[in-house]
Subunit: 346 residues, 2 copies
């Protein structure tokens, strides 16, 4: 990208849970914006969003929306990305796409800036943001991968409803009230918006995020498997995932078992994690200090705690990894990629 | 035990979350009771509990409370059990203890009737009920252990607040209302009643149940490790656990990775689980059928689903195990043990 003092930025999916955080971060980070274009479906056309003291009117996203745009941050679902992103890339803008549409495309870099920043510059117009549950896990694994190598990962997730969008947040709140008031519970969104069968999330744990694949794993689980291998550029890493939605609004938590390729010293592991960019270690069992979803909400970092030697495998350890799924898990990772491109623009 | 037509039963901890379920089950199962004695701390003395159309007045539990008692079901915490159970056992009654006080005592059988019923009859007056999170896991593992052998287990739990008692249930409900109303959240009980630092459970996930041990694991996690080995009578089984409290009222869920000692056929595994006593398989991904905590609440069985081949280890599989922690995880397992003793009385 050619260096400029300011860039034209489009946010596609501007009314969504992630889109709102993208706009918030562009403002908070003082991103060098010339013109901000907020795009959404025709339903949201005409709505007004404040940005740096001005009102920005939301426009309908069409193939013609992207003239003069430098960065297009997409978070409007896979279908929209698949349809629009190729037009945008052709027009010369860089698409940073938060959907699942291009993540496994061999011509599309899948990037976490702290983990594989070199991939950014191999793009052909589209860069994919990994899945939220993958991003925070690979952030915690990166220093271990670099120093010891990783043989195997077994992860179980505790995922917030905001990962399923604003409607899912409202559903959790409404259902919670209904349960507390002894009323009948209404179900319309979770576990998967596009599927007919709905489940109660309030005061429950749903072991389904996204659709099932033939192997009995969900797409969300397979995203963690496939994306981890792609991000590390290492298909030999073994990954097994169980992805579970729990009644939390913001912040995914993960119970991660990691088998390293060699023996390790626990203190060294903790030091490596402490010095990893974007990672914060909160780990003092005697003071009952460990990461919590409610504490991670609104923060940009990935929080790691409960770091402990496995009881059985000499090369393995267990840890608890928490991050705001809408921020580092989505909007912040996307904005970071754009900032990285600007930093390297000539 | 000598066969009688009816037995004198004491419930110690009669006002607690588990004690209430014990009383409920004794009534519902039509347990052959001559006299029911309800015991609790001095605080609850004089309270009245209905049982089969009569009122039973709660008495204070003392060493003298157990004359003529045949079965004493304890669920009043480890301290009460440690203090009173030896007196009770001496008086000739059989103590079935739901606390952690005697579980690892080599002279005390640790029993899940479907898993190791033969241990019941080795008792010397005290039989221990395993921890709730252990019971449901070993129920799902038993048929696999018998047919294939088990090399290793890695489990992450999603545990309901009722496991921490009635006050924790109230705390979750109160905190949920406070969050929904935008009020300040009051914290008094969780994660561990006896520890000074409290954490919010509403809309959160707390990776601490019970106190920490020196190895960085919590006591709850080590209970799963130690009790599983004792129940199967096999110290070679490798177990790693991460125990997490989530905002669910009734029903623990568990993400269980199991490495068998030999290769297996997935259909055979499902058939074995389907024919296991006390186990119900709910597993149809395409119909979005899998066990859920809110569905397991109030039921006696252990529900297993999401049964799938591990992607990496040829002998491993993953599953989702759910059960009502107050019932099979506590009160029902205890009542079952008593029923088993009666069935075999001569």
């Amino acid at each position: 990208m050619r260096k400029k003092s300011k860039y034209n930025v489009a946010v596609v999916g501007a009314t969504g849970a992630v889109g709102q955080q993208m706009i918030h971060l562009l403002e908070k980070r003082n991103f060098p914006i010339d013109r901000l274009k907020l795009l959404a479906s025709s339903r949201s056309k005409g709505k007004v969003v404040p940005f740096k003291g001005h009102d920005v009117v939301i426009e309908e996203a069409t193939p013609e929306s992207f003239d003069d745009i430098d960065f297009a941050l997409f978070s409007a679902g896979g279908k929209t990305s698949k349809y629009l992103a190729p037009y945008v890339a052709q027009s010369g803008a860089i698409v940073i796409d938060n959907s699942n549409a291009f993540r496994m495309d061999p011509n599309v870099p899948l990037v976490v800036p702290e983990v594989n920043p070199e991939e950014i510059f191999k793009h052909q117009g589209i860069i994919a943001n990994p899945n939220c549950s993958t991003i925070q896990m690979v952030m915690a694994l990166k220093p271990l991968y670099d120093h010891f190598g990783i043989e195997r990962i077994i992860v179980s997730t505790y995922q917030a409803v905001s990962g399923a969008g604003n409607q899912a947040i409202q559903e959790l709140k409404q259902q919670s009230k209904q349960v507390l008031n002894g009323e009948e519970v209404s179900k319309a969104i979770l576990p998967v918006g596009s599927l007919p069968i709905k489940k109660q999330i309030a005061f429950n744990a749903i072991p389904q995020i996204d659709v099932f694949e033939e192997n009995g794993f969900t797409l969300e689980e397979m995203k963690m498997v496939r994306e981890t291998k792609k991000i590390f550029g290492d298909s030999s890493i073994k990954v097994t995932a169980t992805c579970v939605r729990i009644p939390v609004v913001y912040g995914h938590s993960e119970s991660v078992y990691v088998e390293l390729k060699q023996s390790y010293d626990l203190k060294q592991v903790i030091e490596l994690l402490k010095s990893a960019s974007g990672v914060v270690v909160i780990d003092d069992p005697l003071q009952q200090e460990y990461p919590l979803a409610i504490d991670a909400a609104g923060k940009l970092e990935v929080f790691v705690g409960r770091i402990r030697r496995d009881l059985d495998h000499p090369n393995a350890l267990n840890m608890w990894v928490v991050s705001d799924n809408l921020l580092k898990g989505a909007a912040w990772n996307a904005v970071q990629i754009a900032e990285e491109i600007i930093k390297n623009a000539k």
